[in-house]
Amino acid sequence: MTTSPLAELSTHVSQLRDRIDGAQTLEQLLEDEVFIIGKRSILSTLQKSLGALAPEDRKDAGAQLQGARREVEGVFAQRRASLERAQRALAIEADRLDLGDVVVAQVALPLAVGHPGIVAATQRQLEDVFVAMGFTVADGPEVESDWYNFEALNIPPAHPARGMWDTFYVDLGEPETVVLRTHTSPTQIHLLEDAVAAGTLPIHSVMPGRCYRRDTPDARHLAAFHQIEGLVVDRGITFADLAGVIETFTHAYFGADISSRLRPAYFPFTEPSAEFEITCTICRGAGCRTCSQTGWIELGGCGMLDPAVFAAVGVDGREWSGFAFGFGIDRCAQMRHQIADMRALIDNDVRFLRQFS
């Protein structure tokens, strides 16, 4: 009978553990890895020698050896982690910089030219046009309750009109009570409620902002997009005023040769409602593929505020009347700069960004 090749196993293991503990740096440990748990480890040599054992002994011995290997590997991994931590701690410590002591004059910032996002740049141009026309600008939140996004806008719960918007619901409150706003219109409700509470009607405001629709992105749509909404509530405001404001804006923003027209449409929060179209900016009205040969392209929706909206926010419709309009900021940018694929807006490729100033 020969002695088992594993007779000395515990001694080997203890030697290997010593060797692991002896490594003082990560480099040293990794250099030694092949001798400790790698091909040239005593454990691998023993593994090979198991072949000589009788089959009935081989299983036990194998298990024994496997246990030893696991133990050594565990110790190795621990040591490795601890040396890595130590090394990182050293590197981090060597990096230490008291940022309060930075001598700004000694930091050479490269002379560089940056670029605003095209959406922000477009939004600013639009705001400027409206401010010049006498509008203020209001911001609103992106997460809204269904009251602001829908019901106060005359779209009651479960009403089929809610299907006009593919809505992202937020996991808060009862199901379907919190949404990512599907349009900027909820900001109208905030403005109206605030103005009624503070007694500060009239309102002449535009409301730009990010909105969301649960729509798979393609060349013309993104799930997140930007709208600008206009709201005028004052005494004696008429549909003719709405048409006039749209026309003034169209000339001011798109150019003197681009005009607007309204055609009947349906929005729950306005009555009468209209889509507004502008002269096709590609063919200047001559007819082309973009406008399906009509010479017109759809820009947005508008209308006189529905009495139900006034009722929801407590505005007296006998004294006040008003209109609202809304359209896509991204779409304006797309039309003005002829961006073939909207997805370029979220690619953040600096070669794209550098084209706007």
């Binding site: 006498g134 600008v137 106060a152 089929p160 937020v170 009570t177 649960r214 006039g244 009947p264 490729d349």
Partner: protein, 822 residues
């Protein structure tokens, strides 16, 4: 909605020009989304009889067919196989040009000559059927050589595809569109041909109807047709169905669909023998009930709905044994379907509550032609008129059929027609123009509104206009109708003005200045995703409550971002991989904090009626920059902040290093931006943890960052502006002294600078210009060297004055434990 103009012409005379017509439709808000010319190019196509079919040597996909089309045998190569000798098929002879511009020429292949083409229905633009040749003998009595158009009784047609708005249930039919056109054009609106019930046995002797749920089913009529022969529709009716974009199924089902398309009333048809006791009953579905609808799907009924406002209610039609026959107003069940053996037909023509249908349809994910109409509101008075039209249409193929007398007509709760007053002044107040009273009345009466009085008018909406409301809201609805028919394009435009000036808010102005500043400093503004995933956000702040979207488009776009850093690093990395990494990317955007962890959660109202109190996430506007240019690090980030702060006139924010830096940030190169005095946190600056950079990028580079809370920043800039008075600089010479102090590590350089600033009235400016650490200095200290500039507003400072100031500076510094370095 696709409407063939030939159908529309049954109701109203149309302008000759299609362009003119589509312009009118657009202007009426019936937007034409497409125009299709059909049956054009069929003038040369004739009926041919198949006389012989032979194989062609060496060809296994085509055969040689000999046909007779009146001028003697013609040999034609044909690839279809669905015919035999004796069938009649359409032949496009040589020289014909088919729809789509396909010109037929004589062709020779494999030694045989083809003298024309035998056509499928699709090739002729007559239907979508392309499963072989159009077998004419299955639908008509064909005559060899006859023009196909004559044989089928079809004429070339134009189909307009109209998009009908959600508030126009009345326009969702051929007659509805015709009504608008007749009113606009001032032409007569013709009524459809209808028939009366036959004076036979009363319906009640054969069938019964009940309404158990009057709120869900406002009207239920049951008619019985006896002696029906189910078969194909006559060609001109089948063609109408096809042109309207539906499939012709059988004369009975087609009649039902034709009536729906033409008048807007969906009807349900049942094989009377498959309906127990020939009884139709409308009731609420009970929990546990189910139904296999015609599409083969088993629907579990009356399940509580998850959606807001969904009661879980379903209205069903059951038979005399209380078996569910159909989901009312949405889809019938398979069990009572019309088949070839059907002889007695029950017609259900009803009014269902629009909201009930809308909720059921949404909950079951089942939107049909019927449900789309019912959920918007079908004219409650249409039910029996629609059946009269149904019978008239079916009688074309069933002259012997009987419509039993006195159809059952049961009432539940029906909507009351809307009423409102309307005056000329109301119209002028809304539209900004006075319209002639006669124009208004003509328009409203054309649309079947009842107008009483001489103004103000008492107006009653027609039963078809369930969208029109009562009172003030209804007045707006009616004014829209007047404006729409009058023509939006004819209305005037005025430019309103008001005394209040247009302006940006202070915050908006600062935001613009901030954006301009960072752009001037070289930042490229990115737009990174608002919706991301836990793995990404865990890189910065593991765990914690996050704002989630219930129904994301993709599982990795389900969480609202709580930081823009990861998005920006990814955006930078993508550019770096393209060799464009020498860039600072930044975003001015909103991040979201879950109400459970937010410092300022937003309280608002929501739920049905807006009566539920809700706590919404905090929306925090931030400016975040990632500096990735060659050589960028924490220092350049600090310098960037310094430039921004200076530009915005912010002086009271100090950079303070911290010992416990959050995950993802460099532990010894991250500092807070803190407002001195209030200790309010304004943001963070420094470098990103090299580990994070390794994880997200392939670059071996330090990435600096700046992350500023704009809510805090805006408050600071507003303060800065309010207190801003300009100092006129002294005209006397300036003195400059350099002072280096040995200062304990814990003392901030800005704090010492501030002390020096305050040491004497004459001090104008204190600038740190050197920091030294070394062995020559005591443990835990460093040397800070400042450049102090001062001048007096009213004299030239003498040497002793300067010495005095210097002494004051040194004394002040000592207050912080700083000693002049020797």
């Amino acid at each position: 909605m696709k409407i063939p103009l030939s159908w529309l012409r049954d109701f109203v005379d149309l302008p000759e020009s299609v362009e003119e017509l589509t312009a009118i439709l657009d202007d009426l808000g019936l937007v034409v989304e497409g125009v299709e010319f059909v049956g054009q190019g069929l003038d040369d196509v004739v009926v041919a009889r198949i006389d012989e079919v032979r194989a062609i040597d060496g060809a296994d996909r085509v055969r040689l067919v000999t046909v007779e089309a009146g001028d003697g045998p013609l040999e034609i190569v044909c690839g279809a196989t669905n015919f035999a000798v004796g069938n009649f098929v359409p032949l496009a002879p040589v020289g014909a040009v088919l729809p789509g511009g396909f010109a037929i020429a004589r062709r020779t292949m494999r030694g045989v000559t083809s003298n024309g083409m035998l056509c499928s229905a699709k090739e002729l633009g007559l239907s979508d059927d392309h499963q072989g040749l159009y077998l004419l003998d299955e639908i008509i009595e064909p005559v060899v050589g006859q023009s196909l158009l004559v044989a089928l009784g079809v004429t070339p047609d134009v189909v307009v595809d109209i998009s009908v708005e959600g508030n126009r249930p009345d326009a969702w039919s051929v007659q509805g569109v015709a009504r608008d056109l007749a009113t606009r054009l001032g032409r007569e609106l013709r009524e459809p041909t209808i028939v009366a019930p036959d004076e036979t046995v009363p319906t009640a002797s054969f069938a019964q109807g009940f309404i158990d749920a009057p709120e869900l089913c406002g009207r239920l009529s049951v008619s019985v047709l006896r002696g029906v022969v189910v078969g194909p529709s006559p060609p001109h009716l089948a063609r109408r169905i096809t042109l309207a974009g539906m499939r012709s199924i059988s004369n009975v089902v087609d009649a039902s669909n034709l009536v729906m398309l033409e008048l807007g009333q969906p009807t349900g048809v049942y094989d009377a023998q498959k309906v127990a006791e020939q009884t139709l009953r409308a009731r609420r579905a009970r929990p546990g009930e189910s139904l296999t609808t015609l599409d083969g799907v088993t629907r579990h009924l009356a399940q509580p709905g998850r959606g807001l406002g969904d009661t879980g209610e379903d209205c069903v039609i059951v038979d005399g044994e209380d078996r569910v026959m159909g989901l009312a107003g949405i889809m019938g069940g398979a069990a009572s379907e019309i088949s070839e053996t059907t002889t007695d037909v029950l017609i259900e023509s009803a009014f269902f509550d629009p909201m009930t249908i809308a909720r059921s349809s949404k909950r079951h994910g089942l939107r049909t032609e019927a449900s789309s109409r019912f959920e918007r509101g079908v004219d409650p008075e249409l039910a029996l008129l629609a059946v009269a039209r149904f019978v008239a249409l079916l009688r074309e193929s069933n002259p012997e059929m009987q419509w039993m007398s006195a159809p059952l007509d049961l009432s539940g709760a029906l909507p009351v027609p809307a009423t409102m007053t309307l005056s000329e002044a109301d119209i002028e107040r809304a539209l900004g123009v006075a319209l002639a009273a006669s124009d208004v009345v003509t328009i409203l009466e054309g649309l079947r509104f009842v107008v009483r009085g001489r103004g103000p008018w008492e107006v009653t909406a027609p039963s078809a206009r369930l969208d029109v409301r009562t009172g003030a809201a209804g007045r707006a609805d009616v004014i829209e109708e007047v404006a729409r028919l009058y023509g939006y394009s004819r209305l005037p435009r005025t430019t309103p003005s008001w005394p209040e000036p247009g302006a940006l808010s202070e915050r908006q102005r600062v935001r613009r200045r901030l954006r301009d500043t960072v752009v001037d400093l070289g930042v490229h503004e990115a737009w990174t995703p608002t919706l991301g995933n836990d793995e990404d956000y865990d890189l910065l702040a593991p765990g914690g409550a996050r704002v989630r979207v219930t129904n994301p488009l993709a599982s990795d776009e389900a969480v609202l971002r709580s930081s823009m850093i990861v998005g920006l690093v990814r955006a930078w990395a993508k550019n770096a991989d393209r060799g464009l990494g020498d860039v600072v990317v930044g975003e001015l955007g909103t991040v979201f904090h879950h109400p459970d962890v937010a410092a300022h959660p937003r309280r608002t109202r929501g739920g049905a009626g807006g009566v539920v109190s809700l706590t919404l996430p905090e929306e925090n506007e931030r400016l975040t920059l990632v500096l990735g240019r060659d050589g960028d690090d924490a220092r350049s980030a600090v310098a960037m902040w310094g430039a921004i702060a200076t530009r915005l006139g912010i002086h009271d924010v100090v950079v303070r290093s911290r010992d416990d830096v959050a995950r993802g940030f460099h532990p010894t190169r991250t500092a807070e931006l803190v407002e001195r005095g209030t200790n309010r946190l304004v943001g963070c600056v420094g470098e990103l943890d090299p580990r994070l950079v390794r994880e997200l990028t392939t670059a071996q580079r330090r990435l600096g960052f700046l992350d500023v809370d704009l809510d805090a920043l805006f408050d600071l800039t507003l303060d800065a502006q309010l207190d801003h008075f300009v100092t006129v600089p002294s005209r006397f010479p300036v003195a400059i002294v350099d002072l280096a102090f040995v200062v304990a590590q814990r003392v901030h350089a800005v704090d010492l600078a501030e002390v020096l600033m305050a040491a004497a009235d004459v001090v104008e400016d204190v600038t740190l210009f050197d920091v030294y650490r070394g062995e020559s200095l005591p443990e835990g200290t460093r040397s800070l060297a400042y450049n102090v500039r001062f001048s007096s507003p009213d004299k030239t400072l003498s040497e002793s004055d300067v010495a005095q100031v210097r002494a004051a500076l040194i004394a002040a510094a000592r207050g912080l434990g700083a000693e002049l370095r020797s």
